[in-house]
Symmetry: C2
Subunit: 197 residues, 2 copies
DNA sequence: CCTACCGATCGGTAGG
DNA sequence: CCTACCGATCGGTAGG
């Protein structure tokens, strides 16, 4: 009999990965047991293994999907015909929105990647390093074009990436009407500073 | 026989806590076993319990000592007779230096506090919340005195605290001569922004 | 500080 | 998808 109708267009595997992201965020990868995950999914622990290969695979799926999203978006922004400052602004806004739209997965990719095993760990770190290098190059261009102050580009990127990561703390407030205000305030702070002149 | 001479003025307990901080940072609290810690200290796992009560106690000692250091320093800065901008600058510099001087412990307090158990978890979160409130009030004063732009104080503090936390990534470079440059660049970025005017 | 050991829990498999 | 179960490892204790 053909599978024509499906009430939910998500596979069981997707459900498992999503629930895993929530638990890994809340308790950490190592402190989350497969039995606990199974309970959240609504099956016995052994049944999980009909859909996934191992606990580690869950972490890989989460981390690499997020890494991929960021890489794709950065490529798009790089190719836009806008100023460096506008590119930086786009990137900052994208990070803030990713943090809010895919909170669990981004949080896990930020905090639990350390529990990946090789070769996945090396691969992940390599991707992250490359991502940073591309951002640093962007800042470099901004300095050359005299759009930006002659700062140390790697520190500027460190500051920006760290700051937007902090949105994970903001998430606790859950006030969605504050969302645009958060975004605008942070962009303004990171680009124009805090001091009244 | 009296203990007159001691080559190292640190108790065994302090050694254990210090080694624990390194391991908790590298592998996470849950993924670090007491047997592994024992091996690093140079004793059997069971012997650790002559100096400490439990694995959880190690995490508590690390997290609360760091929390205490930050609270004390903030009080000192609050009482100084300097401008709000200078106070903020002092705080930023203090955070950056703490991150570099007590890397393992600060990292653990930042990442592994979640594994604390009540009542320690609640206590820790309460202290952190209060710390943030004091910083927000400081920014508020700066706005009232027209030293700072009329921004949303809680977002400004979120941005600053997140940015300085990011120094943990910088630590990987380990170039100590870059240290002052990192500090100056980040202070400048967070206070005056990135844009050339 | 060690040896010896406890019950609990872990990730994962076999077989149906 | 479940029952039943595996070996490994966990945090921690008893006793010396």
């Amino acid at each position: 009999m053909a599978k024509i109708v499906s009430t939910k267009n998500v596979s069981k595997k997707e459900v498992i990965v999503k629930k895993a992201a929530v638990l890994f965020r809340k308790k950490g990868f190592a402190a989350t047991s497969m039995r606990e995950l199974a309970e959240n999914v609504g099956v016995e622990a052994s049944s999980l293994y009909n859909h996934i290969g191992s606990k580690g695979e869950l972490l890989q799926l989460i981390c690499f999907e997020i890494a991929n999203d960021f890489n794709i978006q950065l490529s798009e922004i790089e190719n836009k015909k806008i100023s460096t400052v506008q590119k930086l602004e786009n990137i900052i806004r994208f990070h803030i929105n990713m943090m809010q739209d895919y909170y669990d997965a981004v949080y896990v990719a930020n905090h639990e990647w350390k529990q990946l095993e090789d070769p996945f760990l090396s691969n992940f770190l390599q991707q992250r390093k490359l991502y940073e290098v591309r951002l640093i190059e962007l800042v470099n261009q901004g300095i050359l074009k005299k759009e930006l102050k002659p700062i140390e580009p790697s520190v500027a990127i460190l500051t920006i990436l760290s700051a937007v990561r902090g949105v994970e703390f903001w998430y606790r407030h859950k006030k969605n009407n504050d969302r645009q205000q958060l975004e605008n305030n942070m962009v303004n702070h990171l680009l124009y500073g805090l001091i009244k002149k």
